[in-house]
């Protein structure tokens, strides 16, 4: 049996898991656990990415997104105590959600976009890095600068400052 025969089954299993995780993100009452579920969702997405051929992106997703960004949210929520009223408007939400997903499904399926997917070839990290370095050098420098700017921005926004 060739290994790729198994691909759709894995995808389906992971898909179901990810949908469940996404559902819990929206549903769990305690916001900390909700964000932990977001972490789980992001890791499942990462493994799906790995499955469809983007190993490097998956590693990045785990390293940056799961390991840092969502962690940041969780820590912040657990520090702030996750207060705040949660007035639900399930009807509006339901309509919006259903509409969005159906619209996308129609576009993707109806437009035959799903046929676009073909398993990408193996991208070795050094090859990708070389490409990034030789073709997109200004872009990454720009991104670094943007990141650096974010530090100042975020710190000046979130600190209390002199006023009482």
């Amino acid at each position: 049996m060739h290994m790729y025969t198994m691909l759709p089954f894995f995808t389906i299993a992971l898909g179901v898991a990810s949908i469940a995780a996404a559902y819990y993100v929206v549903k769990i009452k305690d916001l900390v656990y909700a964000s932990v579920m977001l972490d789980v969702l992001a890791s499942i997405i990462a493994s799906m990415l790995a499955l469809i051929g983007y190993g490097i992106v998956a590693a990045f997703q785990v390293l940056i997104y799961v390991g840092a960004a969502v962690m940041f949210i969780i820590i912040t929520i657990s520090m702030i105590g996750a207060r705040g009223k949660e007035t639900k408007e399930p009807f509006l939400g339901f309509i919006t959600g259903t509409f969005l997903s159906i619209a996308i499904i129609i576009i993707v399926m109806g437009g035959g976009l799903f046929k676009l997917y073909a398993r990408p070839g193996y991208v070795s990290p050094s090859q990708a890095a070389a490409g990034l370095l030789s073709h997109y050098f200004p872009v990454i420098v720009l991104i670094i600068i943007a990141q650096a700017a974010t530090i100042v921005e975020a710190i000046s926004i979130s600190k209390r400052g002199e006023k009482k």
């Binding site: 290994m3 390293l63 840092a68 820590i75 520090m79 370095l133 650096a148 100042v152």
Partner: protein, 134 residues
């Protein structure tokens, strides 16, 4: 090799099947132990303080899930901004030997950009009086 050794199955086993099985086993063990080793019900009734949260063995006051230290939030921000940059840097560094000079250049640019900003951020984060929430 056998079917089990094909890369996809290997990774699926490694990442999901084996850890999940272990997790389930451990959980079952813990759950059974928790049930088996329970004190009898009438003793639990006589010990009202057994199941309250430990607070230096005082009758507890107030709740746990409240607002807690916020003072070092600046470090958190620094962490999250620097991490992607650093990961990109290390990623860049794996480029072939021919591009080493360019990656050193990138490294230098990054250090030059980040050092003053990080110094500023660390300085700000240290002034803990400014980070009190509320």
């Amino acid at each position: 090799m056998t079917f089990a050794y094909s890369p996809l199955v290997l990774s699926a086993n490694a990442l999901f099947v084996v850890p999940l099985v272990i997790l389930a086993l451990l959980f079952a063990v813990i759950y059974i132990l928790r049930w088996i080793l329970k004190a009898s019900y009438d003793i639990e009734k006589k010990e009202p303080y057994k199941k309250i949260p430990f607070e230096s063995s005082n009758p507890p006051r107030g709740v746990g899930k409240a607002r807690v230290p916020f003072q070092y939030f600046g470090y958190l921000i620094m962490f999250l901004t620097v991490e992607p940059a650093v990961v990109i840097l290390t990623f860049i560094a794996t480029s072939p030997h021919t591009l080493t000079f360019k990656s050193i250049l990138f490294y230098v640019i990054m250090v030059v950009i980040f050092t003053p900003l990080l110094a500023y951020a660390a300085h700000e984060s240290k002034r803990i009086k400014e980070w009190i929430l509320g």
